[in-house]
């Protein structure tokens, strides 16, 4: 390490406790970073595609997660390396933005890094490589736009949407029932979608799961499902045409926040206090009754006496409902959340056509269905089946991916063909464009094209096909016939034409993948000095 000395021969101290820090510079730093990035990508590579394998993750508390969702794997991995953390971030941002393709984006970034390493060995400056990648990614994104297809659907004809969701689900463990799950996801999204503004608020879709039963029993409920039961075991289990009072105040004696003391020193005071207390409960229940509520949903608990009064006045009630659920109920039923009894008015009540309690299995577990709500915008997907809770969790994640895909399609109707077809087409386009660029970047652009090939290659590999053979065959087919629909036949159907196989992906998803991967790789390439504390 180069050191500067002053006129007395003492070294200047630039970094504090310098010798305790490890430092990598120049090409070594880049190589180390690339190696780390590649290591992360390698973990995910085998999860790609419909025949991808799952990962088993054991959390710090011994809990087990089995998944093949890239974002989930990376999230739960205990990553320590800085560059590896960048990759985790990358997959997460794809998850936030698009919701699907979280594995693909990391594999893509890994491939780009691998290619970059080769260019570095040739002595090309990292910045030039980064710039070349940037140009290539622009070419690729434009090409995607060109080969994308718009497809039409409306509320009645949602078949294309279902097909796209099925592509997403086919890589998950739930692919046994991908058809019905895809339909559920699409119906759910369409139910909450604002087709005018092309916007979907996914918060309105709640995904609930319960182990047991069959995966086929998974259902879409046009309403809300609350994992609670009636506060009194003898309240009616079914309410038709319910008027719901949504309260955030407890059915309990008031607790003034200011410090106070009520001294009881005479018998009279004792008596009056007692009377007041009784009256208080009575009033609370009466208020609810007066405004015409037939069901009370409360965020807090009930006093025993209040509970009985409610029961007595034939006013069913649910207690300890969580804040998120409460909001959803309010949205769905068109009610207002009321923080005080005094503010209850008939207009603030929510309305639902049917509220019922349902029990499951041999244990005493009950759930509350709130259906036929005034504002049917909120829906719940209720996942059954799965022999264990890991299965349910994985199903939830898969459904989430499918929902995101459906939402993206509503936002932007363009699709590209999956099964690696889009990547191969881009690779061809980028390769062709490379020759037009003078200068060193040309090599980087070619490297980019090669990196694009790695996704279909991984697909073929995971499906047990000969990767190089399959890829080159498909590539030449695409070039010969000039049709960008040929991809890898992962499911052994017998055709390479992805149109026939109905394997679609969203355009924005693919574009985002390429852009995000390029960005991260550029960032990694630009690092030329890594300073880390050797002890931690």
């Amino acid at each position: 390490m180069a050191l500067a000395f002053d006129e007395f021969g003492r070294p200047f101290i630039i970094l504090r406790e310098q010798d305790q820090k490890t430092r990598l510079r120049g090409i070594d730093a880049q190589k180390a970073n690339i190696a780390a990035g590649k290591a992360v990508a390698r973990i995910l590579r085998s999860s790609l595609g419909p025949k991808g394998m799952d990962k088993m993750l054991q959390g710090p508390d011994g809990d087990v997660t089995i998944t093949n969702d890239g974002a989930t794997i990376l999230e739960q991995m205990d990553v320590d390396n800085q560059i590896a953390k960048l990759m985790v971030e990358l997959s997460r941002s794809q998850d936030y933005e698009i919701g699907d393709g979280t594995t693909g984006v990391v594999v893509m970034a890994g491939a780009l890094l691998e290619q970059a390493e080769r260019q570095l060995d040739r002595g090309i400056h990292p910045i030039r490589i980064a710039e070349g990648y940037e140009m290539a990614s622009r070419v690729a994104v434009e090409h995607l736009e060109r080969i994308s297809q718009k497809f039409e659907f409306d509320v009645n004809n949602y078949e294309p949407l279902v097909q796209t969701c099925m592509t997403t689900l086919s890589s998950k463990i739930v692919n046994r029932c991908k058809r019905s799950l895809a339909e559920i996801a699409v119906k759910a999204v369409l139910a909450v979608a604002d087709l005018e503004r092309r916007d979907v608020n996914l918060d309105l879709i709640k995904v609930e799961g319960k182990v047991g039963g069959n995966l086929e029993d998974t259902e879409l409920i046009y309403g809300i499902l609350v994992d609670k039961d009636m506060s009194h075991p003898q309240m009616p289990k079914q309410i038709e045409d319910a008027h719901i009072a949504i309260l955030t105040c407890p059915f309990e004696p008031p607790k003034p926040k200011t410090k106070h003391k009520v001294d009881i020193d005479t018998v009279e005071k004792f008596e009056t206090l007692r009377k007041q207390e009784q009256q208080y409960f009575d009033e609370m229940v009466q208020k609810c009754k007066d405004v015409g509520a037939t069901l009370v949903i409360c965020q807090w608990g009930f006093d025993d006496e209040a509970n009985h009064l409610l029961m007595h006045r034939n006013l069913p009630a649910v207690r300890w409902v969580g804040g998120v659920e409460l909001e959803l109920i309010a949205i769905a039923t068109g009610g207002r959340i009321v923080p005080r009894f005094q503010e209850l008015t008939p207009e603030k009540l929510g309305k639902a056509g049917m509220v019922r309690e349902k029990s499951f299995g041999t244990t005493k577990e009950r759930m509350l269905y709130i259906e036929h709500c005034a504002n049917s915008k909120a829906v719940t997907i209720f996942i059954r089946g799965g022999s264990n809770k890991m299965m349910i969790e994985e199903t939830k994640r898969s459904i989430h991916d499918a929902l995101c895909v459906a939402r993206n399609l509503i936002r932007n109707k363009s699709i590209v063909y999956g099964g690696g077809a889009a990547e191969i087409a881009c690779s061809l386009a980028v390769d062709a464009a490379a020759d037009k660029y003078p200068g060193v970047e040309q090599y980087a652009i070619r490297a980019f094209a090669e990196a694009l090939d790695s996704v279909p290659m991984a697909l073929a590999e995971n499906s047990g096909l000969q990767p190089i053979e399959t890829l080159s065959a498909v590539k030449s087919q695409q070039l010969k016939e000039n049709i960008p629909f040929y991809g890898i036949d992962c499911n052994d159907v017998g055709t390479n034409d992805m149109r026939e196989q109905n394997v679609f992906e969203t355009l924005i998803g693919k574009q985002q993948q390429i852009l995000l991967a390029t960005q991260v790789v550029k960032m990694i390439l630009k690092i030329d000095d890594v300073i880390s504390n050797s002890e931690y």
Partner: protein, 527 residues
């Protein structure tokens, strides 16, 4: 350039073959652990808890055994989980499901060593499971129409379930009890209405089913011990000091006389409350909370039977069976629904006095009193009976039944074998393996009974070659026999759940090609 480590210090990563090996071994270890408890001649396990007291459980119930294990292997956890879900959903077959999943993985391991890709194995298993289910569906017996036959079916199922448990000695007695109890439910699966009371002493044979309701409580002193045509008020209210609940209120007095006054007022309040309760015209009062001496005395004076501290479930169940509502305020006596029953009396079981409510309004509920030599015996008896009740209540809803004693496995294995022969491609190996895994269950049952399993299973397979054969292994006589004649039946729903969950779990574990273990969260050493 060495790759820096990516994970945190204690985190580890197992890849490819090693990961698969780790999960196979873990899952098979769990399966082998419970294997010896399978079947009518299965052995029990002693579980000793590490907590204080080192309490001991003796059991033969797969779910109970697995629940108490501390396991570190993630694949093993998957198996523990399916056993738990099986317990929640159908109540029985908790051991079979783990053993089948273990066998499936054992077969899969062989295939993987033979260079067949896990995905191919999964595809084969899926086809096989589907085919096996269809095979069972074809052979189910449904006697829902014929009430008498249905009852005898249930009886047989109960006996089959119980014969592998501690109750096998008196299985007829208990099967009778379980069937009676489930029939009272009239199709609902609400097992809450069946109360199981355990009283040590006597022998298992002394256990009985009571159509009334039994509350494990004592009647207050000086109160009637027997009430006919009882009107019962079921309540959840404070009968101690009944404090003022408005916060911040407290009693502050400056002289003794005032204390006395307040005390008087308090007493007055209690008296008031008691009077209000009495105004309901009741002769029995059951409260969830404590009843202090003073109100108890008042009740005694009024000739009302007062029972304090009935636990929460007791109260709910009592409300359910007597048809009364659980009251907490007593201002409107005319509109509170009271519970009714024909007779309340104190009965003696062993040393203990219990309160017996008979002739209750709702006929659904009943109580089963278990007697036995020790707590361990009683606990195990309760678990066994619970299994039987679960299976029966599920069968009442889904009345399809199958023969037992390894018969369903052989039927499935035969069909699956057929399928393997018809299927082209590498999948057929996996399908064949599936059928081998199915046959492992009767093999284990025979092994556990100390029989010559190879001989018996071979015989059984030959018998099953004939269409419509009812042969299974009769463990008691140690030979292959006609299951229909011997009355060994199982519920279809249980078998189906075993088949599907085991396949699903095996698939889940097979799909894994990498295990990433996070660094365990640091805990303070409490030792």
């Amino acid at each position: 350039m060495p790759i820096d480590k990516i994970f945190k210090d204690d985190a580890s990563e197992e890849k490819g073959e090693r990961a698969r090996m780790a999960s196979f071994i873990g899952a098979m270890a769990i399966a082998d652990l419970v294997k010896s408890t399978l079947g009518p001649k299965g052995m029990d396990k002693i579980l000793q808890s590490t907590g204080r007291g080192h309490s001991v459980t003796v059991t033969n119930d797969g779910a109970t055994i697995l629940k108490s294990l501390h396991i570190d292997n993630p694949a093993a956890k998957v198996l523990v989980d399916i056993s738990k879900v099986q317990d929640d959903e159908v109540g029985d077959g908790t051991t079979s499901v783990v053993v089948l999943a273990g066998e499936l993985l054992r077969e899969a391991e062989k295939l993987v060593t033979a260079k067949i890709h896990p995905m191919t194995i999964i595809a084969g298993y899926r086809m096989a499971a589907e085919c096996a289910r269809d095979a069972l569906l074809k052979r189910v017996i449904d006697n829902k129409e014929n009430a008498e036959k249905f009852r005898s079916d249930l009886m047989k199922i109960a006996m089959t379930t119980l014969c592998s448990k501690i109750l096998s000695q008196d299985k007829e007695h208990f099967a009778e009890m379980a069937v009676d109890a489930v029939f009272r439910l009239k199709g609902s699966t609400n097992l809450e209405a069946i109360q199981i009371i355990k009283k040590p002493g006597g022998s298992l044979r002394d256990s009985f089913l009571d159509e009334g309701f039994i509350l494990d409580k004592k009647i207050g002193i000086g109160q009637p011990k027997r009430i006919e045509n009882a009107k019962i008020l079921v309540a959840n209210t404070a009968m101690d000091t009944d404090k003022v609940k408005i916060y911040g209120a407290r009693v502050r007095v400056d002289s003794m006389t005032k204390v006395a006054e307040i005390e008087g007022a308090e007493k007055e309040k209690m008296k008031d409350k008691v009077n209000k309760i009495l105004a309901h015209g009741i002769n029995c009062f059951v409260n969830r909370q404590l009843i202090y001496n003073f109100p108890e005395e008042l009740f005694a004076d009024a000739g009302v039977l007062a029972i304090e501290h009935a636990d929460f479930e007791g109260i709910e169940r009592l409300g359910l069976v007597t048809g009364g509502e659980i009251a907490s305020t007593f201002d409107n006596p005319e509109s509170v629904k009271l519970g009714h029953c024909k007779l309340i009396e104190e009965i003696m079981i062993g040393e203990d006095k219990l309160i017996h409510f008979s002739g209750v309004e709702m006929g659904q509920a009943c109580s089963i009193v278990l007697r036995g030599a020790s707590h361990h015996v009683l606990d195990e008896a309760e678990r066994s009976l619970h299994d039987a009740l679960c299976v029966l209540s599920q069968t009442v809803n889904d009345s399809r039944v199958l023969l037992g004693g390894g018969w369903p496995e052989m039927v499935m294995a035969k069909e699956v074998d057929e399928l393997a022969r018809k299927t082209a491609g590498k999948k057929s190996h996996a399908i064949e393996a599936f059928s081998r895994a199915l046959v492992a269950i009767p093999t284990t049952i025979a092994d556990n009974a100390g029989l010559d399993s190879a001989e018996l299973v071979a015989q059984l397979r030959a018998e099953h070659h004939n269409e419509g054969c009812n042969a299974g292994i009769d463990v008691i006589s140690g030979a292959v026999g006609d299951m229909e004649e011997r009355g060994i039946y199982e519920a279809f729903k249980v078998k189906q759940a075993v088949l599907l969950s085991a396949t699903e779990a095996a698939e889940m574990i097979l799909r894994v090609d990498e295990i990433i273990t996070c660094a365990p969260r640091r805990r303070e050493d409490r030792m």
